[in-house]
Symmetry: C2
Subunit: 225 residues, 2 copies
């Protein structure tokens, strides 16, 4: 039975590496060589430790990437100065800021699906979104639902784009989409056939904000279901 009446220093073997050092080194590897070069073994080697030692400071690789995302958000997220007066514009500004920061993270795919709040650094922006929605007439519950709807849209946009971008760089096989479009039957799917040549350029367009505006319009319109 250990009975530590005098809470002196810390007992046990002293740590030689810290979570901060892990994150710092991981960030360096990612920025220098890309996210796919970040392995637990390499990270351990560069820190001068062993892979399993990392696991005492980080639950698993996914948590490490989450910490990396948080680190990135804390450095990059800038609150709009001055905040827009119109509540709708505040929602737009906050969501766009979050989207912008996330879109810059290549390793995001493995983490983003984690939860709906990805970073403490982003909480202020979430608050802005909920605030803008309530000031526009939504109840608190409705505003939270509205935020979550915006989050789904944002996460989906980022994930789909990030994955297809990664695929383009890793892979030279024709996309599934190309195969599908090549075999379209104009009789059965007339609009898709007509749209086929326009599809790829339309996909490349950055329409996040446009979609966000539409979504916001709908959220604030109070149409009866």
């Amino acid at each position: 039975m250990p009975r530590p009446p005098a809470p002196r220093k810390t007992t046990g073997r002293p740590a030689r590496i810290s979570r901060e050092e892990i994150i710092r080194t991981a960030r360096r590897i990612v920025t220098e060589d890309g996210a796919d070069r970040l392995t637990m073994r390499r990270l351990a080697t560069e820190i001068g430790s062993t892979p399993m030692a990392l696991y005492h400071h980080v639950r698993d690789k996914e948590e490490l990437l989450l910490l990396l995302l948080d680190d990135h958000a804390a450095r990059s997220l800038r609150r709009p100065e001055p905040p827009p007066a119109d509540p709708r514009d505040r929602v737009l500004a906050a969501a766009t800021a979050i989207h912008e920061v996330l879109a810059a993270c290549p390793w995001i795919v493995e983490v983003l699906t984690a939860d709906d709040l990805m970073s403490t650094s982003a909480l202020w922006f979430v608050e802005q979104i909920v605030a803008g929605l309530t000031e526009s007439g939504l109840s608190l519950d409705e505003a939270v639902r509205g935020y979550r709807t915006i989050w789904y849209y944002t996460a989906g946009e980022i994930l789909v784009h990030a994955t297809s971008a990664r695929r383009r760089s890793t892979d030279d096989r024709p996309t599934y989409r190309d195969q599908v479009f090549a075999a379209l039957d104009p009789a059965e799917l007339p609009l898709l056939s007509r749209a086929a040549p326009r599809w790829t350029p339309l996909t490349a367009e950055d329409t996040y904000e446009q979609g966000l505006r539409a979504l916001l319009t709908g959220l604030l319109s109070h149409t009866p279901a």
Copy 2:
């Protein structure tokens, strides 16, 4: 130059396994034991072959999962009978049908981010969405953009929910969200603090259709950007 005037058989070593057999066996494993039990080694064993033999019929595991998703969609997707008369309702019905089928696929997370058209079986539904949007007054380009916006929202909703569901079943650690909410400062984030106890129940609600309706309202409102 081989000139096969008599369309004999095919040249080369005859195949002992087929893509269909692979998919069939994979489907059985997934339905019987869950998607996480589907490994290339086990699949090969159950077919009576070797892991690498699979790779002649399937590019990699991701393609296998994509084929599995397609298979699932082909079996489950049912066209609404009769199709709703109102174009807006047709969009709703088609998107909801896709959402429903995808939400039933546990292995979807690894595949869904693949592209914006995940299954040939779903093309008819995509056509319905684009058609409903054009009939509501959008140009073809706008309708395709609108479809993609709907797709981002749908994919995001599915991915976020699927991942958090998986986490709950695999994991007993407190969620990141719980940790974040436990440390909220009501002075700085008043709305989030107030919403904190309501957050988890709100997350559990199925609000896909509600969000979709809002999005659709916005897409059809033609608000100037």
